[in-house]
Structures are given as structure tokens and as C-alpha cells.
Symmetry: C2
Subunit: 398 residues, 2 copies
């Protein structure tokens, strides 16, 4: 990692990435992330009824430890889910990491991503951990982001800095996504670190709040997974208490960090060629606006129109209409990258070639407005649906 | 149409298909279907909040006429939806057809499919109707099925015959589908004809019941449209009253007819290479089973695995898990074309190459069973998601 990014890392965390032999091809598949001192820790997990062992064990650890942790172990290449030995694999991994860090097992958080239902040996990760432990340093943060990638094309890391009279607070985060992304998260992992001093309850509340407006606002293919996990560790190494910052400064920085990472995930959706921001205004409630935005974002016909840079507002109108939320189509407007293409439910007067050109950009916005004076609004990020998505997912056993 | 199929048509209906200039390429785009005598008529329409003018006007006609009709006019190439003149186009079409048939306008039912939001002239269809009226006969039933095709690759027609002491009753149906198919129907049209003698209320009840177990059980891409319409006309020309048949014979024949057509639609989904039947057993209620089956059927990851003939049961388990319906994954089984691939939430002992081969067939079944003794069950038909689907829909303005 470049030296400048190392300087942007929060204090008191070290990182190591390596190849444990979980992936079939030789590329880092294991990430070890350690706080030098006990850290407040929060976690948000998938709501899928089928949950992987690392999700179960991490949720339990956070309960038992009262929201503290020292170590995060994450792997790609295998989800450690829906196998007879998944609990054993997770327990052995936690035990090995705890022993290296000389902490109790409930100080170890786990996350896995990869294929579901294929067992791995319970000794594979424990055998690789000592080697990683030896190399822990401040330079491998981005390598860890690489080690958790599956069909992602780029590692995703983001940084934030907060200045205050009491000193500087830093936040850093990594994420992986690509396929199976949808609110309530899906094969989506994100690990967030800060050297602010915050109590465990507040860490959990801040994390929950930021996840709701970031990772839970992206959708790639409406699928959610068994392994989605977001952790936030706050070790206080900056010496700056969150109460020394202005009231919402920390939350806003965390929101910015997670929103950037969430958009990075949507932008790098499997096969995606562009990011789309779907905003809905004028619904009766925010929840209804969200349902409409998700219907538009998840519509394969809208997503393929995005791939084809086709300002096909009829598909947007149709997708919104199918939700079961009543609205008057004669008062519905559609905007594409700021240009009104549908007004009162019929085609607006617009320059189609020019809108088509804006849709060929890497980022496109779709606005859907319902008349009637409702105050409900929502924003969802998604990507287009390309032949590449199908190619990636139709390959035998991705 | 082959002579044998003409003999399978219910009595007292005539058909004509032709090119009205609605499509950009020269292929039949207008279908005229007429009962020689007044017929009981039922209709089931899209539940999308955005409804095309032909849907609005047909629903109104059925109310005003007390469930009778003589004429069905259907076109492809333009949905007559979300345009300033859509009501005028529909009204002029109904007026022209009523004048030719010398009936009241409420005896004319309309349906349209094609692009949304592009106006057509109100005189385009009326000008073409007289020519079609001249050619009405018994040979053009399948031509009508062709005239309503959009991205369908084959016209879809099906027949049923019922023998009784009172004589023979015939049923015939056509359908078009391809994209945008989902329960509550989407750019899905189906027109059903029978020469049984049935009252209007019963026609509507029989139709509703059969649609619920056929067209509302298919999903191609989770999108539903503004124009979905199913009509059933019963003209009594066989002289056989429905009460002369055994109690459920007519309903069963109608169910068989509509189920065949629904499966034809799923099989011919845009870009589809195979039909998949998703059945769920053991849910608490049929509604829960249906929600689980739909989640599996609509999951892009399951659909791309179907395209790749990949027995990836983890994706099936994950798709079911995301619905929000609680179940114990340790009691969940998955079967692919009859072979158990997941038992109690983990991989079953099965011969993977052999299951992969069965998945390369044109028809694949996926069974999902939840333990716990629930009686809820549901069946949904869908197709795989291929690069062809994306290619078709990402083309500029399909």
C-alpha cells in the first residue's frame, strides 16, 4: 500500500494477508486484522434465514464480550456455510486466532465468503494463521481488501479523517461485494476501523445507522446471502473521545465512509458497466419510496436498458407500477441524469440522442417523482445488467 | 393452420390476422377474433398501477355488458400505454370493430402489447380492420397467435376437447409472453375460446380460478407489465351446457389448457434455454410456499445456475432464506430433477456429473422441502437467465 494511505490508517491496527490454500488458484484468500488494544466492536449481519457459521459465531461473540474485540479473521474462497463441519471450522479458526493474540475466544470475529456447501478442513485456516501473525503490519490494509475479493474486480478501501481540538481521528474501511448484493446484504463483507474512543453500545448504534443508509441501499441482483457481515472496531488509540467531536461529526464521517464503500460495491457489481442512482420522491412514506426505488433498481428490464444506454422510461414507470403501491401515473415524472423524459405519465419533450449519450457515462441517475404531495423519499444504488453478469454466474460452480 | 387443428377449434368463432403497419417490420401485427353469436366473456387484467388504455376500456366493457362480448381486437408493436392519445386510440378501435360487427361498442374487447409511451395514430387500427373483417375464417387461429407475438420465438396455441353424453365441447387458447412475465402477468396476453354454454358469472369465476394456477404461477424476470390481459369467451355453439358435464370437467379442461399455455410462455422466455418447475413443500401455508418458490424462481443466481446446468443447491437455499420466512436450514432438502442434492441443509451424497446432465435437458425441476410438518405447497414455472436475455433487452429500444 502506498505510504500516504498508511498515514491515513487509524492508529493501533495491524493487518496481514496471505494464501491459505482455500482458493483453487494461488491468490491471497485470508485476512487477519488486529487491534493492538481492546476495541469496542459492533456487527451487522445478514437477515437471510440460512446463516453461515462465522455469522453465528461472531454474533455470539459480540453478545458474550459485551461488544469488544481484538481480532478479525476473514477468508474468501469458501463461505463455510451449509456444511456438516461449518461450526467446527469456525470454532477452530477462532481458537487459533485467540491463542496467537493471547486473548479470549470471544475477542475474535470471523467472516467468510465464497462457495456455499463445500466443506473445508477445520485445520486449513488455523495452519495458515501463525504465518500471517508474523507479518502483521501497517502496510497490508489494502492486501486484506484483496484477500476477501471474490468476483470483485478491484479491492475497495476508503478513508476519512476528522480534525478536532483534541486531535485527529481516522477511519478506514474495506469492502467486497460484486454479486448477490441486496439490502440486508449479500456476500457483502465490510470491515471498518477507527481510532476514536467510543463505548460499545455507541459503536453498535453508529454502525447500524450508517449501514441503513449505505450497504442497505445497494442492490445488484436482488439476491442476499448467508454470510453478509459488517464490523466496526473502535480502539481509542487516537486518544480522542467521540464526545470531543461535534455532535454528529463522527456519524457523518462514518456515513460518508460506508456510503463510498457501498457505491464502490454497486459500481463493481458483477459484469457492471455503470453505477445507477435511483431516487424516488413524493411517496407517502420513506418506506414506500424505498419499495418503489428497489423495484426500479431490481427490474431486469430497467437494468438491461441501463446496459444499453436506452432512456426507456416506460420500463421505469412499469417497474414502479408493479410494486402494489398505488399512485396516479398521470402525475408521475421520470428524470434520467437530470433530464425529464416522462412528464405526467407520458413522454416528455427531450432530446433522445443527448440523453442516450449521458447514459453511456459511468454514472447515471434515475429520478422518479410521484405527484400528490407526499414527503417520502429514498435513494438506492445499483448497476446495470449485462451479458457479463450472466457469463460470470452461469459458469459451472462459480 | 393445419386442417386437424381447425377441427379442434370450438364452433362459432372466426379469426383473421394481418399487418396494420404498427410494427416497423412487415409481419402481422393485428388480430381480429369474432364469435358468430353473443358470448359470455370474462377477463383478468394486470395489477400494475400503470394500466394501458385497452385494459381500462376492456374492464369497463365487461362491467357494462354484464360479461358478454362478440369481438376481440389485439395488436402487437405498440402497447397503447402512457401516451396522451391512448384513450382515443382504444375508443376508435372499439368503435370501428363494433361498426363492422354491427354490435354495441361494449361487445368489443381490446388488448395491446409492444413498446410503452410511443403514440400511434388513432386511425391506424380502424383503417386495417375492414380488410381483416373480410377474411375472417376458421383457418387463421394460429395466425392470430403469431400476430400478437413480440419477442416470442413461436406462436403458442393449445386445444382441449371434452366428450359428454350431450355432445363435444372444445376449448382453444393462444398466448404470448416472452419478457416481463411474472404473476399478475406482464406483457402477457392470452385469449381463450370455448363453445360450451356457460353464464357470464361462471365464465369469470372459471377464468379467475384457472389463471391463478397457471399464468399467475410463471415468472421470467419478475417484471410485470401495464397490458396483461386474459380473456375467455364462451359462445355456447356446441349446444352443450356446462351443467351437462361432470362437475369439475370444464374447470379441469380449462386449467389444463391455461397451464399448458403458461408453461409454453415460460419455456419461451426471452433468451431461455430451458423450463424450470420450482416446487416447495412443507411451508406453513400455501402463501408462504409460493413466496419461497417465487424467490427461488426469480433469483438471478439460481437462474444463471440453471443456464449453466450447475446443481448449485447453495444458491437455492440462499434464495429461499432471503424471503423473511423463517425455517430451519438443518431440515431443508433440495431436489434437482428428482435427485436429492441437499439433505438437512448440507450437501447430499449424489453423482454430480449425472445431475449436471439432467440439468442440460429442456426441462428441469427443482424441489425445495422444509421439514417441520407444514402442509403449504406451491409450484412456479420459470426459465433460465442467459446472455440472450440481456442481449434482447439491452438493445436500444426493444
Amino acid at each position: 500500500m502506498s505510504e500516504s494511505n498508511v498515514l491515513r490508517l487509524p492508529k493501533g491496527f495491524r493487518f496481514a494477508a496471505g494464501y491459505a490454500g482455500i482458493r483453487k488458484f494461488r491468490a491471497a484468500d485470508l485476512a487477519l486484522m488486529v487491534s493492538d488494544t481492546p476495541a469496542s466492536a459492533g456487527g451487522v449481519f445478514t437477515r437471510n434465514a440460512v446463516r453461515a457459521a462465522p455469522v453465528e459465531i461472531s454474533a455470539q461473540c459480540l453478545r458474550q464480550s459485551g461488544g469488544t474485540a481484538r481480532v478479525v479473521v476473514a477468508n474468501a474462497g469458501n463461505a463455510n456455510c451449509a456444511t456438516p463441519n461449518m461450526a467446527e471450522v469456525a470454532a477452530e479458526t477462532a481458537r487459533a486466532a485467540a491463542s496467537l493474540a493471547e486473548v479470549s475466544e470471544n475477542q475474535v470475529l470471523l467472516a467468510s465468503t465464497g462457495v456455499i456447501g463445500e466443506p473445508i478442513g477445520a485445520d486449513v485456516i488455523p495452519q495458515a494463521l501463525p504465518r500471517l501473525w508474523e507479518t502483521l503490519d501497517r502496510s497490508q490494509f489494502k492486501d486484506c481488501a484483496g484477500a476477501i475479493m471474490t468476483t470483485d474486480t478491484v479491492p475497495k478501501v476508503r478513508f476519512r479523517e476528522l480534525e478536532s481540538a483534541a486531535g485527529t481521528v481516522r477511519l478506514a474501511g474495506m469492502a467486497k461485494g460484486a454479486g448477490m448484493i441486496m439490502p440486508d446484504m449479500a456476500t457483502m463483507l465490510s470491515f471498518l476501523f477507527t481510532d476514536a474512543r467510543i463505548g460499545p453500545k455507541r459503536v453498535q448504534a453508529c454502525l447500524k445507522s450508517s449501514v441503513d443508509q449505505s450497504f442497505n441501499c445497494i442492490t445488484i441482483d436482488s439476491d442476499t446471502s448467508t454470510n453478509d457481515t459488517v464490523f466496526l472496531l473502535a480502539n481509542g488509540a487516537s486518544g480522542v473521545d467521540i464526545d470531543c467531536l461535534s455532535e454528529t461529526a463522527f456519524q457523518e464521517a462514518l456515513n460518508g465512509l460506508t456510503r463510498d464503500l457501498a457505491k464502490d460495491i454497486a459500481r463493481d457489481g458483477e459484469g457492471a458497466s455503470r453505477l445507477a442512482e435511483i431516487s424516488v420522491d413524493g411517496a407517502q412514506t420513506d418506506a414506500e419510496a424505498r419499495a418503489l426505488a428497489l423495484a426500479i433498481a431490481n427490474s431486469p428490464l430497467v437494468k438491461t436498458a441501463l446496459a444499453g444506454a436506452d432512456p426507456n422510461w416506460g420500463r421505469i414507470l412499469g417497474a414502479a407500477g408493479k410494486v402494489g403501491i398505488p399512485f396516479d401515473p398521470r402525475q408521475a415524472d421520470v428524470l434520467i441524469s437530470g433530464v425529464q423524459v416522462c412528464s405526467g405519465g407520458v413522454r416528455a419533450d427531450f432530446d433522445e440522442p443527448s440523453v442516450q449519450r449521458t447514459m453511456e457515462e459511468r454514472e447515471v441517475s434515475i429520478g422518479f417523482r410521484i405527484g400528490g404531495g407526499g414527503k417520502g423519499r429514498a435513494v438506492i444504488w445499483t448497476c446495470d445488467l449485462t451479458e457479463g453478469y450472466v457469463r460470470i454466474n452461469a459458469e459451472y460452480r462459480t
